[in-house]
């Protein structure tokens, strides 16, 4: 067995995460923010590992 099978398994893992999530929580491009946060005038709202719960 080579590293190829492990790399393919890693890709399968992320495709599984995305696939399961897209069916449960489909994204909506019509509510998307502007391409860049800088200059958008909107407050940052993403989750981050350094942030305490808001």
């Amino acid at each position: 067995m080579s590293r190829r099978i492990v790399a393919l398994a890693a890709m399968a893992l992320i495709l599984l995460v995305i696939g399961m999530d897209v069916t449960a929580s489909p994204p909506n491009p019509y509510t998307a923010p502007s391409a860049f946060a800088l200059g958008s005038g909107a407050a940052p709202s993403g989750g981050f590992c350094g942030a305490l719960p808001d």
Binding site: M1, M11, S25, G39, S45, F48, C49, G50, P53
Partner: protein, 378 residues
């Protein structure tokens, strides 16, 4: 020579061109697809993640390895490159965070008992599996079985660390301290220079230079990290996304997360219902894995190496280290990316404390790794 390499050679240069073309087209399609499904910002974030993964795998750069090189061989080249990259990001990010405070936010977190302990444990665990936050993802994407096994347990640990984060933080924390503006940038650069000077002083003879490959990696990492800040409005991070995947899975399975102050907080509760394709750290995490996969496939024979033969205790150690990586990085308010790289480059004091505690933990981890069967004992 392995079978895969022989097969690749039989197909000749045209087969290689076709394979590489398919990899590039596949990556571009993924970015366009995410942009179309979720919005252009999220397509850009996946592209940034792909760039980060390609940089780390393509230039064989990382965080755990250079720290190990300094501890074992007093070779500071990799850490010096990390400090260079952090300095470049700081020069751009700290002034921007001040001038666009309503649109951008830094990796700001408090220093506390659990934060310091978490960073120490993270440093030890990342040396056991020789993979940090970004490194575990890149290792998995490039076919490293230790990285792949550690990854799901890293995510589970991150979920539980976040679940109990407030309890741990309440054990004792300082207010958030941030080095802001021109003065904050000057202090950050002086501190980075002081650490670099200390490392050069302690370096073994003949190691006091940064190879061109590491300089290229430092510049590219800085460019992508700055891009992350400009597009997402927040710095590059890893562990939030990993914990979110498990939290979404738990909610999907009917688990009630209202008992967690973290997951029931309005912002996090909303993200549990949003698409993972709109979560910044998830997208860069996907990109890190896929970018490493692209580069590993790009190299001739890059994935044909046989898997390592490790004793059972090494696999058990990998599972435990994966859980600890995830749990401890949440208590520490980030891993080597969110706390060390992004924390210091956006002026947060916790990034510096994380660096010291995690480096101390790395000394322990370097000693543990051979005892746990993950390398030949010397």
């Amino acid at each position: 020579m392995s079978t895969a390499v022989e097969y690749s050679d039989v197909r000749g240069p045209w087969g290689r061109v076709a394979r590489r073309g398919a990899l590039v087209i596949g990556a571009l399609i993924a970015v366009v697809l995410v942009a179309a499904l979720a919005g252009p910002r999220f397509g850009l974030m996946l592209a940034i993640g792909l760039g980060l993964g390609m940089t780390l795998e393509g230039l064989r750069f990382g965080f755990a390895g250079p720290w190990r090189a300094m501890i074992l061989r007093r070779d500071p080249a990799g850490i010096l490159a990390q400090l260079l990259s952090i300095a470049i990001v700081a020069i751009v990010a700290i002034p921007l965070l001040q001038s666009h405070a309503g649109e951008l936010v830094g990796a700001e977190a408090p220093v506390g008992f659990a934060m310091i302990g978490g960073a120490f444990v993270f440093g030890a665990a990342m040396q056991v599996v020789l993979g940090c936050g970004s490194g575990t993802l890149v290792n998995a994407g490039s076919g490293n079985p230790v990285g792949l096994l550690a990854l799901p347990f890293f995510a589970i640990g991150s979920f539980f660390g976040a679940y109990s984060l407030v309890w741990w933080t309440d054990l004792g924390s300082l207010p958030i301290i941030v080095l802001r503006g021109g003065q904050g940038l000057a202090i950050t650069l002086v501190l980075l220079g002081a650490v670099a000077a200390f490392l050069l002083w302690r370096a073994a003879p003949g190691t006091r230079r940064i190879p061109g490959r590491y300089i290229a990696a430092a510049l590219l990492l800085a460019a992508f990290a700055i891009g992350n800040l400009l597009v997402a409005g927040q710095p590059w991070g890893v562990v939030y996304g990993l914990g979110l995947w498990v939290a979404k899975g738990a909610v999907g399975a009917g688990v009630d997360l209202s008992g967690s102050a973290f997951w029931s907080a309005p912002g996090n509760a909303a993200r549990l219902g949003d698409s993972v394709l709109t979560d910044y750290t998830s997208l860069t995490n996907f990109g890190l894995i896929a970018g490493a996969f692209v580069i590993a496939n790009w190299r001739a024979g890059g994935l044909s190496a046989p898997l390592p033969s490790l004793p059972a205790r090494a696999w058990v150690a990998t599972v435990i280290a994966g859980l600890l990586l995830g749990f401890s990085s949440r208590l520490a308010f980030g891993c080597n990316v969110g706390a060390f790289f992004s924390g210091i480059s956006t002026g947060s004091l916790h990034g510096w404390v994380w660096f010291a505690a995690a480096f101390a933990g790395s000394w322990v981890g370097v000693g543990l790794r051979p005892r746990l069967g993950l390398e030949a004992r010397t």
